[in-house]
Amino acid sequence: MCSDIYKVQLENIFEGPMDLLVYLIRKNEVNIYDIPISMITDRYLDYIEWMKSMNVDIAGDFLVMAATLIQIKSRMLLPVHDDSDEEDPRQEITRPLLEYLQMKAAALQLNERDMLGEHTFIRSPSKISDPGTLPDHEIRVDIFDLIKAFQRIIENLSSDISLDVVADKLSIKDRMIELSHLLKEKGFLIFQELIGNAAGKADIIVTFLAILEMVKRNAAHVIQRDDTDTITLYLNEITHA
């Protein structure tokens, strides 16, 4: 536990191996088109070693990059055939580095723009802080909103799944009878109160299932008022004689 206190997140220093490489290249003022691979590899490994000694969790990405560097270094040591159709082994690292630097520069350019809500404002600033369900089309939702809505439903229903394990079928039936009696007595029941009064998770699930079953059987119906979150359970008039 004690050593955990001194643990540093490597990501907080260099977000990833590309970041670290960019730093080393800049710090050592090397030409990116002619990277002294041996030196950069050594510096890179030094850094990883230092991090290890500092008790830092080293992400796998950093080790993959270390392996790549070592491999390039060893390929550079092989004798060069003069019919050199072969690509400079360093290209394997130069190309992605250039692309990364290009995107980093693009990010800086983005950052220099006048940002809405930071440098410039529109008449309804609340829209900026809460993009809510924003439009790409006439209807102001996107597909991510749709998945999130579905995910919410699934999460709320997860009790439904565990229910077969937890709940005893008999007790659902018992609870249905109990609820019917209560409904006859009171006329209606507030869902949140039923849940609130339940003893433990299993009880909540049984109550919930009992309600679902009653609704399914048309023995009761449930109404949610728009203005509140209150869900009310009513007994149905028995129509079938």
């Binding site: 102001r140 991510f144 749709l146 579905f150 439903i153 699934i154 679902l212 449930v222």
Partner: protein, 180 residues
Amino acid sequence: MPELKFILESFLFVSEEPLTLEKMRAALPFTDTKGIKEALQSLKNEYDQRQGSICLIEVAGGYQLRTRSEYADWIKKIIQTSAQRLSPAALETLAIIAYKQPIMRSDIEHIRGVDTGGIIRMLLDRKLIKILGRKEIPGRPLIYATTRYFLEIFGLRDIKDLPAPKDISDLGKPVVDAPE
């Protein structure tokens, strides 16, 4: 430093409610209420002389930029055409239909736990869902599915393109983005 009246103008422009003199003063410690009042008067005069669509009025104990009443009929025309939002309840119902289609109303209500008749009708009206037919079980209930327009709205080529909740949970937790 910009002119005081224009600083006040920027305040009024971004305020969703009438702005009181006290609030303006609190944001402008170098000046006093008298100075602010004078600058507001000069701004008001400018707007009045210009005879554009915007005016500065004193209302509900504060100041506010508004459109002149002559523009009301025009403005109504543009507001009608703006986008509509789907309520969370409608979005949930639509999500259930999209992911579980073809589906009966009773199954939707079973999942949501509430009556959905009104929402289904609204989704039908807006052509986001359609009646696919009837299920051959007692009562022959209607079954629902999403429409081609639904795919268009959500930029999907095919209903199989619909991302699963798993696709999102695979991304992990959103990072808390606190620069500096």
